[in-house]
Symmetry: C2
Subunit: 164 residues, 2 copies
């Protein structure tokens, strides 16, 4: 498969709930985050950390850090979906990227870049991925490594500098 051509990994589909809309009449910033959080849960299922997998391994995933970009407003009842890309991983961490899009026209509404960590719940303390999880994660890291990197990756927040 050539660079840039790939089927998206869709991790969430739904509509914007009336409970998620603020006084501006559109999706509140924190609820973009809730949709992304649900997408992370669905991605965990794909690497064997669904509820039975968490019980069997004694492991779960914690979010250490997130960087969200809010690009377009979203009105109530809009049909949206999340596409997910693994940007990288080591023995216990995953750098994950979610894109929230409108389902009808694929307009990008928001993105989040996440640093996640595998956790042994008996501590809780950080721990290497269980072999069964690593076996599902490694091919995903390989495959997604050929996808284009989204432009929002690695951003930090700063006021624009005045042009001289």
């Amino acid at each position: 498969m050539s660079e840039g051509v790939h089927d998206p990994l869709v991790t969430w589909r739904g509509t914007v709930s009336p409970d998620w809309v603020d006084y501006n009449g559109h999706l509140r910033d924190a609820y973009y985050g809730l949709i992304f959080s649900f997408a992370t849960d669905a991605w965990m299922d794909q690497i064997g950390l669904d509820e039975p997998g968490r019980a069997e391994t004694g492991h779960t995933i914690y979010t250490l850090e997130s960087h969200q970009n809010f690009l377009l407003e979203v009105a109530v009842d809009t049909a949206v979906e999340v596409h997910t890309q693994v940007l990288g991983a080591d023995h216990k961490r995953v750098q994950l990227f979610h894109t929230l899009l409108r389902s009808d026209n694929a307009a990008v509404l928001a993105t989040t870049e996440l640093m996640l960590c595998n956790i042994d719940t008996t501590g809780p303390r950080s721990a290497a991925f269980a072999p069964s999880v690593a076996a599902l994660l490694q091919p995903m890291v390989q495959a997604h490594g050929h996808w284009p990197r989204p432009p929002q990756v690695g951003r930090s927040i700063a006021l624009p500098t005045a042009t001289p």
Copy 2:
């Protein structure tokens, strides 16, 4: 007042709702974000962009970008509070920082750095702060500029590099 010594600007106080807890038994990442979102609302009140102020100016605030660090787990019913610092501003943007702390022992639970933008709701389009808002914001920028900058400011997400 000397550097580092200042009364905090407290923008939210409450307890962790049972509705905000996930399968890991603690505050879900997105609900740290909801508490921060409520803190931003309370901060808007302080610069005159409460509901009457929004109606009078025709302006509101949108979040453009956020960077969250999740430092400690938080159990249900824990009493927490948010302290807020304005890191900088230009004619239409504010760089804001929130710290979520336990109310009993001041342990820092999470932080978020935000880029916010003033919006003329008739567009909606970005617009300079109304004079009445700027008059409240500018002294806050001045005062908070003397506070220490939190260590999480300006971070970007990356996997740790292996030490050689």
